[in-house]
C-alpha cells in the first residue's frame, strides 16, 4: 500500500462519516435513501482498496443497486418525509458516546492495518492460500473458501435469502385492507412504464441483453475473478427491474410469471442442499464435493459450479419476487 493509497482511504473514510451524518440529519427519506446508495458506493471503493474485490462488487450491486430499489419501492408506498423527530436524544447520545469510547479504547491494542504479523494473517488464512491450489485449484481463493471450505455458511446464506423471499411474499401477499394511497408516479410506471419516452426505452432495451451477458460472465467466471452466484443473481434481477421500468410492471410479470419466480426461489436452495446430500450418498461428508468425481479436485470443481448455480437461481428468483411484491402493491 503506497502512501497515496493510504491517504485516499483516509479521505474516503472521512467522506463516509460525513455522508452518514447527512443521512441521519436529513428529513427527506428519498434523499436519505439516495445518500445511503452513495455511502455504499464509497464503501465498495474502500473494500476494493483493501484487497476485497469480491466484497466490493457485491456491496456496489447490493448497497447501491438493490437496497436503493427496495427503499424507493417502500417509500412510494409509505411517506417521503420524516414527520416526527427524535425521542430520548440525550439517552441515545449517552449510550453512543460510551460505546464509541469503549471501541476506540479497544483499538489501541489492535494490529495495525496491513500488519503481516497480525494473528489473523498467521493462523488459518495461510492454510487457505497454501492449500487452495492443491485441493480446489481455482484461482480465486475467496470463491474456494466461500463455496467449499466454508460452504456450509454459504448454504445458510442462501437460505437466509430464501427466508427473506418467503417473508416478503407472505407479508405482501395478503391483499391490502381498503385502498392504499399510492403515489401517482408509481401507478404510472406500473401500468405503462416509460413507453412514451423513446430515448430511455430504446437504449434500455439495447442494454438488457448485455446486462444478462455480464451476469452470465460473473456467474461462471467467479472461479477466476471476483464474482459468483450471488452477484450474478443481483445483476439479473437488476436487468428485470430495468425491463419493468421500461415496459411496465405487467409486462415484466408476463415475461417471468410469479409461479416461475417462486419455483426458482425454492429450487435454488434445493440444488445447493441436494448437492450436499449427494456427497453424503456417495460416501463423503455433507458438502464434501471431492467424492463427486473420480478425481477429488474435479469433484470440487463440479460441486462449486453446481452450488454457485443454485445460489444464482435463488437470488434471481427471490430478488425479482421481492421487487414485484413492492411494485404490485402500488399498482393495485
Amino acid at each position: 500500500m503506497t502512501v497515496f493509497t493510504v491517504f485516499f482511504i483516509i479521505f474516503l473514510l472521512t467522506l463516509m462519516v460525513i455522508t452518514a451524518l447527512a443521512i441521519v440529519q436529513t428529513k427527506n427519506l428519498f434523499a436519505a435513501a439516495m445518500l445511503s446508495g452513495i455511502f455504499s458506493l464509497m464503501s465498495a471503493m474502500i473494500f476494493f482498496l483493501l484487497d476485497a474485490a469480491d466484497v466490493a462488487l457485491t456491496e456496489a450491486a447490493v448497497g447501491a443497486g438493490i437496497s436503493t430499489v427496495l427503499f424507493l419501492g417502500a417509500l412510494a408506498l409509505t411517506a417521503e418525509n420524516e414527520r416526527a423527530g427524535t425521542a430520548g436524544r440525550a439517552a441515545a447520545l449517552a449510550v453512543v458516546t460510551v460505546i464509541t469510547a469503549v471501541l476506540v479504547y479497544a483499538t489501541f491494542d489492535m494490529p495495525r492495518l496491513g500488519d503481516p504479523n497480525a494473528p489473523a494473517q498467521l493462523h488459518v488464512a495461510p492454510w487457505y492460500l497454501e492449500k487452495t491450489p492443491e485441493y480446489i485449484d481455482v484461482p480465486n481463493v475467496v470463491t474456494a473458501v466461500l463455496a467449499s471450505f466454508r460452504g456450509y455458511d454459504t448454504l445458510g446464506e442462501t437460505f437466509v435469502v430464501f427466508t427473506a423471499g418467503i417473508g416478503v411474499l407472505f407479508l405482501l401477499g395478503k391483499a391490502p385492507v381498503g385502498q392504499p394511497k399510492v403515489s401517482p408516479a408509481m401507478t404510472f410506471a406500473g401500468k405503462t412504464g416509460l413507453r412514451h419516452y423513446q430515448i430511455p426505452r430504446v437504449v434500455g432495451r439495447l442494454l438488457i441483453p448485455f446486462i444478462l451477458l455480464f451476469a452470465l460472465y460473473v456467474q461462471f467466471h467467479g472461479d477466476y475473478s471476483p464474482g459468483g452466484g450471488f452477484q450474478a443473481g443481483v445483476i439479473v434481477a437488476a436487468s428485470v427491474v430495468l425491463y419493468a421500468l421500461l415496459e411496465g410492471e405487467e409486462q415484466a410479470r408476463q415475461a417471468l410469471p410469479a409461479w416461475l419466480l417462486r419455483l426458482m426461489a425454492a429450487t435454488g436452495p434445493l440444488i445447493y442442499g441436494f448437492t450436499g446430500v449427494a456427497c453424503m450418498l456417495l460416501g463423503g461428508n455433507f458438502l464434501d464435493y471431492s467424492v463427486l468425481a473420480h478425481d477429488p479436485v474435479h469433484g470440487q470443481h463440479y460441486g462449486i459450479l453446481v452450488i454457485e448455480a443454485g445460489v444464482g437461481v435463488t437470488v434471481t428468483g427471490v430478488l425479482i419476487s421481492i421487487f414485484h411484491s413492492f411494485a404490485a402493491r402500488g399498482a393495485k
Binding site: 452518514a20 466484497v55 416526527a84 427524535t86 488459518v124 475467496v142 455458511d153
Partner: protein, 118 residues
C-alpha cells in the same frame, strides 16, 4: 503514519454509533431501517480492515504466484455472507413497514403507539 493505520477502526466505531443513534433515537420506521443498515455497514468495514497485508494483492492467483503476497481471503468470505444477511433483513423490514403503513396509516413510532393505546 503508524497512528493513521488505526483510522479504519475509528471510522468503524463512529459509523457504528451514527447508525445506532439513528436506530434508537429516530421515530420514523424507514429512518430506523436506514440507520440499521448503516450500523451493519460499519461492521463490514471492521472485518474488511483485517484483510490486507502490507504489499499484498487480492487473493486471486494469476499466472505467476511465486514470491507474491496475498491478502486474507477469510474476512471477504464472511462479509459476503453478512452483506446478504443485511439485504435480507432490510427487505423483510421494509415489507413490515409497508404493512404497518396500511394498518395504521402512519410510519412514525410515536403515532403508532398513540393509535394502539386507544
Amino acid at each position: 503514519m503508524e497512528i493513521l493505520e488505526l483510522y479504519n477502526y475509528w471510522v468503524f466505531a463512529i459509523l457504528l454509533m451514527i447508525g445506532f443513534y439513528a436506530v434508537t433515537a429516530k421515530l420514523n420506521l424507514v429512518k430506523k431501517l436506514i440507520g440499521l443498515s448503516l450500523f451493519q455497514s460499519a461492521v463490514f468495514l471492521l472485518y474488511i480492515s483485517m484483510g490486507p497485508v502490507e504489499g499484498g494483492t487480492a487473493p486471486i492467483f494469476h499466472a505467476d504466484v511465486t514470491g507474491r503476497v496475498f491478502s486474507n481471503p477469510l474476512p471477504s468470505v464472511l462479509i459476503l455472507t453478512a452483506i446478504v444477511v443485511g439485504i435480507s433483513t432490510l427487505a423483510l423490514g421494509l415489507a413490515i413497514i409497508v404493512r404497518i403503513k396500511e394498518a395504521y396509516d402512519s410510519v412514525e413510532e410515536n403515532e403508532i403507539r398513540e393509535l394502539d393505546r386507544q
